[in-house]
Amino acid sequence: MWDHLSLLLVVTPLIAAPLAAILPFGRVPWALAFLVALACAVMAGMQLWTILTGGPIQYELGGWAPPWGIVYRIDEVNALVAMIVSGIAAVALPYALLSAENEIEKHQIPLFYSAVLLCLAGLLGITQTGDIFNLFVFLEISSLSSYALISLGNRRQALTAAYQYLIMGTLGATFFLIGVGLIYSQTGTLNMADLAARLPEATGLKTVHTGFAFIMIGFALKLALFPLHLWLPNAYTYAPSVVTVFLAATATKVALYVILRVLFTVFPDGFVTNTPAGDLFLMAGILAVLSGSFRAIYQSNVKKLLAHSSVAQIGYMAIGLSFASVAGVTASIIHMFNHALMKGALFMAVGAIVYRVGACRMEHLHGLGRQMPWTFGAIIVAGFSLIGVPGTAGFVSKWYLVLAALEQQQWIVVAVILFGSLLAVIYVGKIIEALYFKQATNPELAVEEAPFLLLAPTWILVFANIYFGFDTDLTVGVAERAAQALGVAAK
């Protein structure tokens, strides 16, 4: 079975999803989903280790050789992304048990876990595949299941948020499909390695340029890159807490991976620098950082505040990749990893507040800092990481991003990164102020600390934020190798 590891990583949740749907009520579907997520995390870890020690893996599905059959092709980049996705799933599922029972109707629970497993299978399928159309199919599995998961939020805005995301997500997927079709018309192939071999002769063609643009716009929509981010704030705000945790920490990361893969592996060297793509990513990134951070400051709903902050964080990742340098892409990948840790922890902590108080507007938070000290502590540490305080993972991201910008002598970008961090101080400060320095509106109302099952996963991610703030060998080392594996031209 060792040879089939990369395949089983996707097929295990895929098979578990229909099983979860037909299992009897109770906690069986949850247990199944949790075991599967745990197994996926172990398999993804083994896969990453195999690749770091032994080089890329290729797996021919159906036993057909590429380019006629579909292949999985995994190098350091997708192995790392698969690790993030399944790692977050394994931490989020213990959290899901109580959080979902609290926010989702009982008879929907088995189907809910089925949808979670589908989403996991879809995201992992996107990362593992070496075939660009197979990627589209798994993109739709993850998208459809996330629309359904978002719509389960208990306010009616969840429905409109899911609808809006469905429309924009489908437009994005269709743009991607147009792009793939145009590129297929000039190469005749869908296999990514084969595309990479055949595209250099076709780089001058107008059709290829158009196809490239459509693929990029399609995934910029899925990534929620400014100004195509409009679906994100509402979707993250009104989805059930655990769904927000999972999607915020994984879905946009996978979209970023696809952009990196297409930009650097599928398209030949210099395609980014010789077209306006690099400049556009830089501009979108800068605007995302500024607009996302400013909007975050003015939010009165904590989940929405964090969602707008996510728009800004995606901006940092776009800035990194726009340099098309090893340093820039490394910074982008490091931030992708670290952002999953910090936003995962923050949304979990906010979900714990929702579990106890039932809402998460600023006024509901007043005075909770003293009553829920562990949750409060998690918000402080993860918030510091979001700002980029030294000693946290967030600092490592910002540091490498600034270094990459200095290498390009982009002084404005350095200023934007620092200014963005300053704005983060303000919006994280607002949350801490509400939690600790504001008097509770109803002091007699005793609020208990969140249950252990919610706190433990939160603190696992909080510790990860601290750990990866000190031990940078793992993240930076792997990210550097990943950037090289992508085929980023060394300067």
Binding site: F133, F136, V137, E140, L144, Y147, A148, S151, R156, Q157, L159, T160, A162, Y163, L166, I167, T170, L171, T174, L177, I178, G181, Y184, S185, L190
Partner: protein, 118 residues
């Protein structure tokens, strides 16, 4: 003129795509948006199938002696894409039904004004 004849399929397909796209982003009625989305997608299918056509070719079902077939690969891709499309449509319409029950309307601006008046 030669270009228009040899690319007539593509040009019309682009026109159709844009009518669908325009319907999605300019209309506020939630059902009409879904109709627009469907038109957008079907027109993309047209481009793929046009790419698969070979002059004097026949449908790709093996017959002894026949040499020229149209390209089966885009057909396969579009079969999958059609299925994905209907899945999205079903989910989108289910959301519309729930939105109608929750808001009493399927017009985007009326929904927004209800949410903002809270």
């Amino acid at each position: 003129m030669d270009f228009v004849v040899s690319h007539y399929n593509y040009l019309i397909a682009i026109f159709l795509m844009m009518t669908g796209f325009y319907t999605v982003i300019s209309r506020g009625n939630l059902v009409k948006k879904i109709v627009g989305l469907n038109i957008f997608q079907v027109s993309v299918f047209l481009i793929y199938i046009s790419l698969s056509t070979v002059k004097d070719g026949v449908a790709p079902i093996y017959v002894e002696g026949v040499k020229v077939y149209s390209n089966p690969l885009p057909h396969v891709l579009i079969l999958t894409a059609i299925v994905v499309g209907v899945a999205t449509t079903a989910l989108g319409l289910a959301l519309v039904v729930r939105i109608k029950e929750a808001y009493g309307t399927i017009e985007e601006d009326e929904i927004h004004s209800q949410d903002n008046s809270l």
